[in-house]
Amino acid sequence: MRFNPTELSTSELALQTEVRQFLKTELAPGTHEPCLGMAARKDKPFSMKMAERGWVGMALPKAWGGSDRTAVDRFIVVEEMLRWGAPVGHHWVADRQTGSVILKFGTDEQRKRFLPAICRGELGFSIGMSEPDSGSDLASVSTKAERATGGWLINGTKIWTSGAHENDWFVCLLRTSSMEDGNKHAGLSQLLIDLQSDGLEISPIPFLDGSHHFNEVTFNDVFVPDENVVGDVGMGWHQNTTEMAYERGGPDRWLSPFSTIEQLLREAKDTPLEQSVQSLFGELIARYWGIRNLSLSVARLIDSGEAPTIESSLVKEMGTRFEQEVIEKLVQLIELEYSPDSHSLFERMLSQCIVTFPGNTIRGGTIEILRSVAAKGLQGLPV
């Protein structure tokens, strides 16, 4: 395990400036309600505007509609978007992972069909991993894909599916053959499923505050043609693990509360802040500087062709706990009775953080699972 310090090159700094100017014009402070990290509003026109700049699917090759940029370039765009609280929800999953998975494991047909549309900011994807009886023990998934003429018939249930009611496509980890003795990772495959398919039913699972993000997706003999299998049949676990390396360790794992911190300062205006609040700012800014450096060095590792599974697990575990710590400290230090419909934007954002942040250390792999992955890596065991 090694995190090398890295700095942004002149052209990377130019990209950073360009993104900041774009945001200032498109979402001037005071004119938009900032989102909290990757759980951002879906705003397709905004996604398409970003795509016009080449900032969606930017690390994908030009031949497939991308911009041939690097993981670090994507890091720069993403951190500015999240820090600003931009509505990146529509293209988020496709940009972060699905595009890379299709590029890496998909057929040319699939690349042609999906990648240019992803890069135009048109397509929204959901992720189909968890099931009612398979959460942290993901390899135990039991939703079945059975052979049918020209394709597969899907039966079973996926759960906690964010945005299935609004997205276009669903990348699912499915069981295409039964578990082999002693090897539950075998027999899994990744399939691309149209969320409008016959037999596919989407039911909302209201979030604790009544809002609608999660869904349960039920498959009743849903037909998926052969051309929608991603990669090789039976290689789903390996592909899924690779996908996780893209999913973990990025700015979305530590920047969620940042727009709230900014808003606190914005609303404080000229009121002198107490010494305890000054110290809190010192602590947060220092930690942000340190964690960002680690996260950026993971992006550099990806660009050098490595799959930094352990490094990204360590950063995600630390980053998501830090997000919760930030909010806890704000609650301890700022004397106010926050409310979700306060006239103060800061209070509204803080309320939203309090209610949603327990999920930050759960989504995309609980921190307990991440610790187990990282600890195996530290001991030199296979992850």
Binding site: F3, L8, P29, Q278, L280, N293, L294, S297, E317
Partner: protein, 357 residues
Amino acid sequence: MTELIVDELITQTANRLFSEICSHEAIQNAETAGEAPEIWAAYTETGFPWISIDENLGGSGGTLLDALEVLRLIGYYAVPVPAAETGILGGWLLSEAGFQLPEGIVTVLPDQGPDLAIKVDGSQVSITGSAIRVPWARSAEIIAILFHDDGNNYVASVQASDCVITPMTNMAGEPRDTVRFDGVVSSYAEVSAAIDAQSFRLRGALSRVALMAGAIEKMSQLTVSYTNDRVQFGRPVARFQAVQQHLVWAAQDAALSRMAAESAGIEATRGNGAFETASAKLIANQAASRATKACHQAHGAMGMTQEYPLHHYSRRLWSWRKEYGGDAEWSQWIGQLAIAQGADGLYPLITGGSRVL
């Protein structure tokens, strides 16, 4: 911007030397004796103490970043020598003032209390009062003292033998002596305006950050290896999730403080890096607190013994986290700086650091 990297030969040589001369027993003996002349002698043969100091003044050349890499390894092996004091602190002050470096140990006054009076008298100064927690004063040849007088900054080069030294120690048994000056007369020379109390304090903090990053990494590695060897309930304790939590948290703090130390080192080598150094010290202080707790817990009773080496690192960290600024000092310093940037300037400060200030 040219990329700054450490000469790999320095890392290799330091690793080889320190693993040879710095056994568990050697560190323990140094603590009992209050000094380690043999280790110091072997260390000086490499020229390491004077890296980053001008060769014309008796230094070894090289960059500040190179010197910090040696300090990181000094921390990693708990080498019982005044490396920071002789090199990037004391050696730096003397060389900035144009003094030739002495052959022996140099030390500095980390906390210059108000009861120290330095009176300029022509070509000499006269010093009266006392200073506490002076590292290795008992073994030093020269005490380099930075002072301000009539709008200018100066460095006095004091013969340690002219002072009254009372041996004291820190939590790790490292010498932190009380030094009394009874009208000690010494030579002095002017340094540039940039070398003031704040830049000295930051440089002290930077030295501790490098040492701490090394010590936290070593503790983290010791913990991984101990929990793999220790078998309970029929399997290595490292297989238990509750123990894995400690391994992971310690590894994160090792990675975080090393990243902070190296990033701050790069900016400081370029000539600024105040924001980065302050942030790195705060990060390392907090990482030290968390990591010592995690590593001790994972070691169980064994970590509480003198026989097992964990304490060489944990006790040093408990001291170093308070030297050259604890959490309160640096969080306040960074907080005021950050708030002055305003809401829109906060993130640019995180990404751009000292360069946007």
